[in-house]
């Protein structure tokens, strides 16, 4: 099986003496869904933000789809990775001044230099897939949170990425809107997409994840299959976290 992401000994610190990432190593295989869990401040968001160069590294190295990232990488390298790795944020981060259609077709037109008509056709198709085709000509502020997040997923998919990163995609949503976003992600996973998902949704992790990774204080505490993790976690810290969540 090919490896999509290989991280070796990642270290990242925002303030001296306090490491957000403290020697993290992991591998994500192509087609795998890895769910990252952990208390807030455990470094899980920082971790997946290093995968596409949003955070720089202090030391250690990353291999993303065969492209190498380390403390001294080049901007060009980062952009090559970003064209192949999609990302979905907690706060959606749609462009408020662009219509839904333009939000999705912007990167295909400007980055991949696709024809406008083809890009818009693709955008409509993706919106259809997300079940919000009729919203194409509205603006982000007119959509509900769940709809906005599905647009954000469509926007990331428009570049036809090989890996998708999700940074707490449902944390900013009203509870009744969570399901529609998780359903879209579930569908994506079924299609064989390589996914790294930071989330607190236990149900999603149990059902969709191939492996669950638990982080605390910038370190990986344990990585297990969901069955083991939820019923019989190896580490005391994981068990304590789970008991608080349930």
């Amino acid at each position: 099986m090919t490896i999509a992401i290989r991280a070796t000994d990642l270290v990242k610190s925002y303030s001296p003496g306090l490491n957000a990432l403290d020697g993290v190593s992991l591998e994500v295989s192509a087609g795998e869904v890895l769910v990252v869990m952990g208390p807030s401040g455990s470094g899980k968001s920082t971790l997946i933000r290093t995968f596409n160069g949003l955070e720089t590294l202090d030391s250690g190295s990353l291999d993303v789809l065969g492209l190498r990232l380390d403390a001294a990488h080049e901007e060009r390298q980062v952009r090559a990775i970003r064209e192949r790795v999609g990302m979905v944020f907690q706060q959606f981060n749609l462009f408020p001044h662009l219509s839904i259609l333009d939000n999705i077709s912007l990167a295909p037109i400007k980055v991949q230099k696709r024809a406008k008509a083809a890009a818009e056709h693709l955008a409509i198709e993706l919106l259809d897939q997300m079940g919000i085709r009729e919203q194409a000509h509205k603006y982000p502020a007119q959509l509900s949170g769940g709809q906005q997040q599905r647009v954000a997923i469509a926007r990331a998919l428009a570049l036809d990425p090989e890996v998708m990163l999700f940074d707490e995609p449902t944390s900013a949503l009203d509870p009744e809107r969570v399901k529609e976003v998780l359903d879209a992600m579930r569908q994506l996973a079924k299609g064989g997409m390589t996914m790294v998902v930071v989330t607190h949704e236990l149900g999603f992790a149990r059902e969709v994840a191939d492996r669950v990774m638990f982080m605390d204080q910038g370190q990986v505490v344990e990585t297990s299959d969901p069955q083991t993790f939820f019923t019989n976690a190896r580490e005391e810290r994981s068990r304590r976290f789970l008991s608080q969540m349930m």
Binding site: T56, A71, A72, H73, E74, E75
Partner: protein, 300 residues
């Protein structure tokens, strides 16, 4: 920050420096050529030569035989006089008009609204000319109770003689700046929650007392920074005094430059003067800001 980024940035920066230096060099080259061509070079010696022009209004003794430098100092004093008095009166007018905008009296409210809407959409220079040519030069000779005497020669207040030019510039600046200050004060007052108004009304406090003692002190932190920039505007706008012949710093500089032809030196002096003036005003306001914030924090 990765090393390579830095290296890229270094080249961009170097490029900018080289471009700026080339552009600056071109300008300097041109200006030197032009200065040589016209027989001028940077020289401040003229400052000590006699000015030769008279000034209508002098805070300190001055005669045309005095130096240009002294004339500029007199101009400075005149500027300072109109700016300081202007700041004080404009603040009073602005606070009054701004408070009137949130008065319960509808007539007062619309009057103050009309004042702001009218004054802010008409050029200050036009207003100054109006105050000078129409209002003050048109004053009939009227003694008011022996203490104040209006005439088209100026206003005599107790023992104080105010020239028509001074009065026009002052009135124009105060009325114009007052309108802007009124808007700021209104914004500040609106930012104070309605609950505060209801609180003092329910205590039976008079409207004016509540405004002065309860609402305005809370609005101050929002008002002061915007007030500073209005004060700086007033100071800069005072240079329009030249249009009505008030001998302020700019007017004296203008005459000096016309007589000596020393444009660059004159410009540098004026620039320095205004930097100093700005520093004085913003410094004073920063002190006041600190005092106000300090008092608010202590009272909490």
């Amino acid at each position: 920050m990765p090393q390579i980024f830095r290296r890229g940035r270094f080249w961009i920066q170097l490029g900018v420096v080289v471009a700026l230096m080339a552009f600056g060099g071109l300008l300097i080259n041109n200006i030197t050529v032009n200065l040589i061509r016209t027989g001028l070079g940077l020289d401040f010696g003229w400052l000590w030569r006699p000015a030769g022009f008279a000034l209508a209004e002098t805070a300190l003794p001055y005669a045309p035989t005095d130096s240009y430098a002294w004339a500029l100092v007199i101009g400075w004093m005149n500027s300072l006089k109109v700016i300081l008095v202007g700041l004080l009166l404009a603040t009073m007018l602005g606070v009054a008009a701004g408070a009137a905008r949130s008065s319960r009296n509808r007539l007062l409210r619309s009057l103050s609204g009309g004042y702001v809407a009218l004054i802010r959409q008409v050029p200050l220079l036009l207003q100054l000319l109006f105050w000078y040519f129409v209002a003050f030069l048109g004053l009939p000779d009227t003694p008011v109770g022996g203490l104040i005497h209006f005439s088209n020669q100026g206003i005599r207040l107790l023992g104080l003689n105010l020239s028509v030019e001074f009065c026009s510039v002052l009135t124009g600046l105060v009325v114009f700046t007052g309108a802007s200050i009124a808007e700021i004060v209104r914004g500040g007052i609106n930012a104070v929650s309605l609950g505060q108004w209801e609180a003092f009304r329910s205590l039976g406090l008079l409207e004016g007392v509540g405004l002065r003692r309860i609402v305005l002190p809370q609005a101050l932190p929002a008002i002061l920074p915007a007030l500073t920039s209005q004060f700086l505007n007033l100071a800069k706008n005072s240079t329009l005094a030249i249009a009505v012949g008030y001998a302020d710093l700019y007017a004296v500089s203008d005459t000096t430059i016309t007589q000596t032809g020393r444009a660059i030196e004159g410009f540098l002096l004026l620039l320095l003067s205004f930097l100093l003036l700005n520093l004085l005003i913003s410094g004073g306001m920063a002190l006041m800001n600190g005092a106000v914030l300090g008092r608010l924090q202590r009272s909490r």
